[in-house]
Symmetry: C2
Amino acid sequence: MYGFNGKVLKVNLTNGDVEVRKLDEDIYRRYLGGRGLALYFLLREMKPRVDPLGPDNVLVFTTSVVTGVPLPGFGRFTVAAKSPLTDGFGEAEAGGYWGAELKFSGFDAIIVRGASDKPVYLWIHDGEADIRDARKLWGMTTKGAQDSIREELNDKLIRVAAIGQAGENLVRFACILNEARYASGRCGLGAVMGSKKLKAIAVRGHGRVTVKSMDEIRGLAKWFDENWRNNPSAVYLSGYGTAGIVTVLDADGILPTKNFRDGSFEHAEEISGERMKETILIGTEGCFACPVKCKRVVKLTNPYQVDPEYGGPEYETIAALGSLCGIGDLNTIAYGNQLCNAYGMDTISTGCVIAFAMECYEKGIITREDTGGLDLKFGNREALIQLIHMIAKRSGIGDVLAEGVLRASKRIGRGSENMALHVKGKEVPLHDPRGKASLALMYAISPSGADHMQAVHDPVYEQSVESMKCLGILKPIDRLSLDAEKVRAFTYLHILNSLYDCLDVCKFIFTPHVYGTFKITQLPTILNAITGWETSLFELMKVGERALNMARAFNVREGLDVKEDRLPHRFFEALNSGSRKGAKLDAIEFNEALKTYYKIMGWDEVTGAPEEAKLKELDLEWVIDIMSQHC
Amino acid sequence: MYGFNGKVLKVNLTNGDVEVRKLDEDIYRRYLGGRGLALYFLLREMKPRVDPLGPDNVLVFTTSVVTGVPLPGFGRFTVAAKSPLTDGFGEAEAGGYWGAELKFSGFDAIIVRGASDKPVYLWIHDGEADIRDARKLWGMTTKGAQDSIREELNDKLIRVAAIGQAGENLVRFACILNEARYASGRCGLGAVMGSKKLKAIAVRGHGRVTVKSMDEIRGLAKWFDENWRNNPSAVYLSGYGTAGIVTVLDADGILPTKNFRDGSFEHAEEISGERMKETILIGTEGCFACPVKCKRVVKLTNPYQVDPEYGGPEYETIAALGSLCGIGDLNTIAYGNQLCNAYGMDTISTGCVIAFAMECYEKGIITREDTGGLDLKFGNREALIQLIHMIAKRSGIGDVLAEGVLRASKRIGRGSENMALHVKGKEVPLHDPRGKASLALMYAISPSGADHMQAVHDPVYEQSVESMKCLGILKPIDRLSLDAEKVRAFTYLHILNSLYDCLDVCKFIFTPHVYGTFKITQLPTILNAITGWETSLFELMKVGERALNMARAFNVREGLDVKEDRLPHRFFEALNSGSRKGAKLDAIEFNEALKTYYKIMGWDEVTGAPEEAKLKELDLEWVIDIMSQHC
């Protein structure tokens, strides 16, 4: 039993029951952890069509067989539930230290069901678990709750995953923060915690993850350490964080600006990673066991107070609160980022919902009367900050926007639907498919709605392709192509990334176009050193494919079908500015690519459901049974 | 350019043109060689629906990127063409030394088209190739032709692949022999050579296969050498050859006896590997670079003359000429084996067609008048020997039987069809699906008709499963089961074996239940050391799957469809004797399993054709084009 504890904590918040369930090694080998294990639990433990914000929703926290092993990028974890944004499979992965600490505490996963009638938090420590009173934490920021718990339990090394007021107020895109700066960001899972009156999960363990060969693990860590330091791209990631791509995307004409109408932003330079380094950056930081330190630490005292403990803005946040809203000021973005982290609110959805409101305002669909006097012009810094507060507190128009762009646009009507950029109700992240066609497939097909982490690497460059050859991707493919070759490459990369999400590993640590990070072919080697198995990339890719099929089955059971695999109309409209001005997606080509994808995956192109033969192939006959009971 | 020469020899026997064609590395990476490369050529170079015995049939000889590398089992090669037995894809792999020698000569493959008007042979030597007169070789035995060529060219180390009289006389199951004892046995490819008046291909080269890391290759060879010697199963294979399983299968009730009516043979002991060792065995022999030496060397002077150079009988031959015909005498079998090798005639089909005739005779469908006085009783040794001569020479009833059981039974009629054990016209090999259900799928689905080498390992034993876990086969499966779990395992193993056939590696060298032979997970390691690629089992399995789909497409183009994926009725009838007396296949279960297999493979269950999406996934869009031109 290497790599896992074999123990899952099951908590029922309605009646306070806490039990420990054992899991066989074969389950770990079939699902590995993360997304796969989460879906294994969700499909089995959740009744279909439950209210995502009701007590019957099941909230799971999972790690994998590699989580907590001292290798870079191996400290992440998954949170999953039915999403209040998409009404389908909701998931979010986060870095930091919490995932590794859960493994050290003796558990691999937590299943939370029911709802408490008063605020509580969960305290998990060395094989034990208690449900504790959190009444005095309710209303606190994520950091406030974390600090209070550490003080109450008198241990500064306790790792806390907490919600803020956004989660408490059931903002549909509320998130969960650990260390107050590592976000399990998307799909509104903070609202699910809020609906269960679960303020936080605090973990502490003095165990460690037993591996088959610690010598090999040390060797791999050393290999990584020696290699990435000599690599310009990796050094760039360390130097500028994800913020480093602001100017790159701007020059490329796909920096999402003013609610995705423009592809270039006049103030791009001012919100760039380079500018951050020159101004507010006071340090960098890494997750568990990671030397790359791509995380930014920023500090600001004027015009806003920004506490370094809330972390600096990532690229997604900069573009969401910045260019997307026409805001060219890094200080405002850094402060907005802090507010989102304190309230526990996804910065991508927050920026997207504010940009939506700004476009509605510009077009007169929302008036100053609706906004309670706020002048919701693109570029209005103060309006952005105010709106963040209002959304988190559900005050005024913030109450409507807290529902996310899909529901807000339905309520507002009057053509606002065309400004609501989402897939399956989840707001679109800050990457424009009009300049990188694989994103069109990625957004449309992602089981949890628009998501930029589903297939992060594109076979565009010779050097990325070099490391993708082991997947049969032998040559670069035009970034704008959606032909069969692209769909094939996308399908394999989508499966690979699903595997990464089953492993809960950082996708920057397996970056094809960054020499010096782990290679895809090292996956079996790493898994073998940890687990003692003798696995292969074939077996591992099947795990990724299995999880994608389970997610699809989950969504079908919840009533989502192929009609939901759509894109916002905006991406079929021409970009207004930037080096790709005029670029737009072709609907016929896109639909053709989607169909090819379904067929390759073994999914019915009419219903979108995985074919029974595909489920049989993936050892998912139990999913066929579950589907037939409920469909 | 490691592992291959990048050169293919193209020969047109009609006009005598010989040209050298270069092949890019990507082709090798996509198809590897063997079956894959053969199909690449056949699909592109052959017009559909040609007469398999006419000049438009294309005959290809292929090796792979590993052929000729000094590792055990890496000296094999593929011969392929449209089969005169099945009218579909015909292929045969053989060991020996010829495959490695072709690589040393500077070529990776040979494509032969057209037909000569007088007998010729092909002489390939160090990058050169000549078509030479073979009039004086016509009518010779395989060994005679080989010896003559060596003498004529004055080089005893020339490797010769030759046909005998059976090929010259277009016996539909004529084969090709190298060293007069390594048979490219099945599908009647010797008849294709005969139809082109091509007596032999002689090769000699002084080059070698350049590899990326000879140190690693040496290490792998050493690893193999050290490991298999300590393993009881491998030692068993060395000690008794494939003949070692005669008594095992007899005890298990699935030794095919008297045309598959019985599962046990009263004289099993007398035709066993153990008995061979005690009597006629004078030595053992291995193929190129192989220490296992599973080949038997036998000698006999009385009552027959058996020349050691023709080799000893394999299990298939023993059962085909022995138990299947009710013949319990090893001497007769060894002599029959020699005759088949001298005439160049597949022993499996030969035994099967004789057993067919014997059953017809027993039932009065064939009479002594038809046989020209031969008393064709089961067990009549002399009749067996006479019939082998008659078939090879197409004399008397031999002329009918030389057509194979399908065509012979059509000609004979009167219910003889039920005694003709074949799939797609190819005679059934000597393994009974009534005791091992995966064989039912294997025979029915094999692209080249009934074949026992399509998925040689079954996940029946704990120790086989141990090495199959890397394919996601985590636990043993009942040998009689045809449920979804079995179909999944079979599908993966079928693909794996297709990969082996693309690599032209010996399947005994990758034997899951024999510790000490290469493991499946070593495949990428071996490929990388040879080619310098960084491949994975994922990429490699896709090559195997690609070849299966190409073979299927070839057959569809030739007019074969799902109706041809049938089994002889006999397997749905109860076994008459042995420990599995009464055992039979269930037709409903079998058909259900077939359907699941098609769906898993992405094949249309009505037409049996690979779906376009599957071909797109496998980078086979050119096959879609070819199919649409001709279907």
